[in-house]
């Protein structure tokens, strides 16, 4: 018989999140060894810490919906719509000469309110009407994009108060504010999804909505809640983005849509719903960020980075399959 401690140690690394953590360490070490002068510098780490939060928040916004067996294809345009209307309020109040504190408070409120409205629309279409989430959110995303374009006429909204730039560009005690916000989001998402009855219901819906409904859970209410939570996260990502770019435009962040699906799935979330961990998603986001930043530093063509990302997504899924296949056989 083998040493018990070793067996336990190996077993501990059998779960998906632990494997992801090892992959992250591996990738990080690999990049650091290949290019210690450029990758492992304070500057690069800082720049990654400013980029990662937006992507990470989007990925969690995607993950919470996938857990219920749905998908939210409208996250980027929810964020864009919130940013554009919020940005409009910020810009108008600034030109009107209203005090910056009041302007920013009102602006942030509008960001959240608009996102909540988008979330309500998604919730209505998915939970009340009962359209398949993929198509419902495809439709609403087209709708939100149209509203965005109607407001901006294809341009960008700018002229924010200087104080607003603080959100995306300042570090507190060396930690960038976006990173702090991201950590808060992760903790809130963790408690909401994995430690509350609301979260448990969301996972149950992902496993089997009919059984969940017969268990006395209001599926409709929980779905509304999930889409609203997802929308609020989009608003937060929108605040960070518009602050970093000092403007708001409908196309900002649109590349995050597919990446966030990739991150959620890479993080072990079951695309059919019912399983998914916040930690897993965060680890996947970190892995993707390290790989893309690293390859960027090495001067790899950005289109090739796309190819590698796609390859990783498929490979990880194939490996997952082999793993579960083994377990089923054993």
């Amino acid at each position: 018989m083998k040493n018990n401690a070793t067996v336990k140690f190996v077993q501990r690394f059998r779960n998906k999140e632990a494997v992801l953590f090892l992959i992250f360490i591996g990738v990080f070490a690999f990049m650091s060894i290949l290019s210690p002068q450029t990758f492992l510098t304070m500057r690069n780490l800082q720049s990654m810490a400013y980029q990662l939060p937006e992507f990470g928040i989007f990925a969690i916004a995607m993950m919470v919906v996938i857990v219920t067996g749905g998908i939210n294809l409208s996250i980027t345009f929810t964020s864009a719509l919130a940013s554009i209307v919020g940005g409009l309020v910020l810009a108008t109040m600034t030109t009107a000469g209203i005090s910056p504190t009041l302007t920013i408070l009102a602006g942030l409120g509008v960001f959240i309110l608009i996102a909540l409205a988008c979330g309500m629309v998604n919730g209505f279409v998915v939970a009340t009407i009962g359209i398949t989430p993929m198509l419902a959110t495809l439709g609403t995303s087209t709708l939100f994009e149209g509203v965005c374009l109607n407001i901006t006429k294809g341009g960008a909204i700018s002229g924010f108060p200087d104080a607003f730039l603080w959100f995306g560009n300042t570090a507190i005690l060396g930690i960038p504010f976006p990173m702090i916000l991201f950590i808060v989001v992760v903790v809130v998402a963790y408690y909401l999804m994995e430690r509350s009855s609301f979260g448990l219901k969301a996972y149950m819906i992902g496993c089997n909505p009919t059984v969940t409904a017969y268990s006395g859970v209001s599926v409709k209410k929980v779905l509304y809640g999930v889409y609203l939570f997802s929308a609020v996260l989009c608003a937060l990502a929108g605040i960070l983005m518009s602050s970093r770019y000092n403007s708001a435009k409908e196309s900002y962040g649109s590349s995050y849509l597919l990446q966030s699906v990739a991150a959620a799935v890479l993080g072990g979330t079951d695309i059919n719903g019912g399983y998914g961990k916040v930690v897993g998603t965060v680890l996947a986001v970190m892995i993707i960020q390290v790989i893309s930043s690293g390859l960027n530093i090495f001067g790899v063509n950005r289109f090739v980075i796309n190819v590698i990302m796609g390859g990783i997504l498929i490979m990880v899924l194939a490996l997952n399959l082999i793993n579960t296949g083994k377990k089923a056989n054993a």
Binding site: L138, K153, L321
Partner: protein, 336 residues
């Protein structure tokens, strides 16, 4: 059963009704709508969408989805463009190369979905990223212009010149033939082949289809390969219309294709949809877009209208299905 078939027949009828209604509204507001020139422009501008929708129909019928079609058609246009520039200007060979390239890419999707059992949306997200990445890396985003003359001449050909425009006689653009070919081929496959019946069976109920003896893996692989083939065809047709290749021309095109098929009444839960409905859906999509332009409504409104129409049409479908389901259950209970 009789009631259900009646309902199904009604669905295409309903779309046709909406199409006619929308057309009448637009025609009353714009005299330019019902002119032969405008109708031909609409036809030529949406042949590619029509062809690609037919491939997507098969995928949606089984309850799958393919978001890689936009990148696939971009890759096909680049491959065909390079082939025409550097190998041969022969139209038939270009068609062959385009379809082969499309089929190969579709085959990869199909094998990954069937053999690795990864959900279609994830597989096609991955292949989309790979295909568009490779295409843009290869071309660096630059256009291919100056295609061989005989290919350009081919693209300008018309059939049955019956209408006079200035000094010129114009007829149907040659590209319409490809749409007709794709529609008939898809209809034949769905109606008369074992695979086609299997596609409906699989969309209706996977488990039952497997128990009846359909090889679902083989059907899945065929389905995505066929879609690749259709995309290849569409790529060549697109190149012949535009007479140049822009690798970025199809960004986000997959959403339009899916929207058109759904508008045509295909159930996204799988199991229901028809070639006729899809063609009507594409026509409706086309007419709405064209009408908005003709009525001088800012282009920004287009997305809003398409989004609302999409949600409304699926929503209506879902609500209707729920009504019928509850209705039929009631009947069963009463009979029992």
């Amino acid at each position: 059963m009789k009631l259900k078939t009646k309902l199904k027949q009604n669905r295409e009828f309903g779309i046709l009704g909406i199409l006619i209604l929308v057309s009448i509204i637009i025609a009353l507001n714009s005299s330019a709508f019902l002119t032969v020139e405008n109708l031909f422009d609409m036809l030529k501008g949406n042949v590619v969408l029509g062809i690609m929708s037919l491939g997507m129909l098969l995928v949606l019928l089984t309850g799958g989805i393919d978001v890689s079609v936009g990148s696939m058609v971009a890759a096909v246009t680049v491959i065909v463009g390079q082939f025409l520039m550097h190998v041969s200007g022969n139209v038939f060979l270009a068609l062959l190369v385009g379809c082969a390239a499309g089929t190969a890419m579709g085959l990869v999707n199909g094998v990954l979905i069937a053999k690795l059992r990864i959900p279609p949306i994830v597989v096609t997200l991955g292949t989309m990223s790979i295909i568009i990445g490779l295409t843009l890396y290869w071309t660096n985003g630059t256009w291919i212009t100056g295609l061989p003359k005989n290919f350009i001449d081919f693209g300008r050909q018309t059939i049955g010149s019956f209408y006079q425009q200035g000094d010129e006689m114009i007829g149907f653009p040659v590209q319409i033939l490809f749409l007709v070919f794709a529609a008939i081929l898809t209809w034949l496959i769905l109606k008369y082949t074992l695979v086609g019946r299997g596609i409906y069976a699989m969309g209706g109920n996977r488990v039952s289809a497997e128990r009846v003896g359909y090889n679902l893996d083989r059907i899945t692989i065929f389905l995505y390969a066929y879609e690749g083939f259709i995309v290849g065809l569409a790529g060549v047709v697109h190149t012949s219309i535009m007479r140049q290749v822009d690798p970025n021309a199809f960004n986000g095109f997959e959403m339009q294709v899916i929207a058109a098929v759904v508008l045509g009444g295909a159930s996204t839960l799988g199991g229901y949809g028809s070639v006729l409905g899809t063609i009507l859906g594409v026509a409706l999509f086309t007419v709405i877009n064209n009408g908005l332009i003709l009525m001088h409504i800012p282009t920004f409104w287009q997305k809003i209208v398409v989004g609302i129409v999409l949600i409304a049409s699926i929503g209506f479908d879902v609500v209707q299905k729920r009504y019928w389901d509850s209705h039929t259950t009631k009947v069963d209970i009463e009979e029992a």
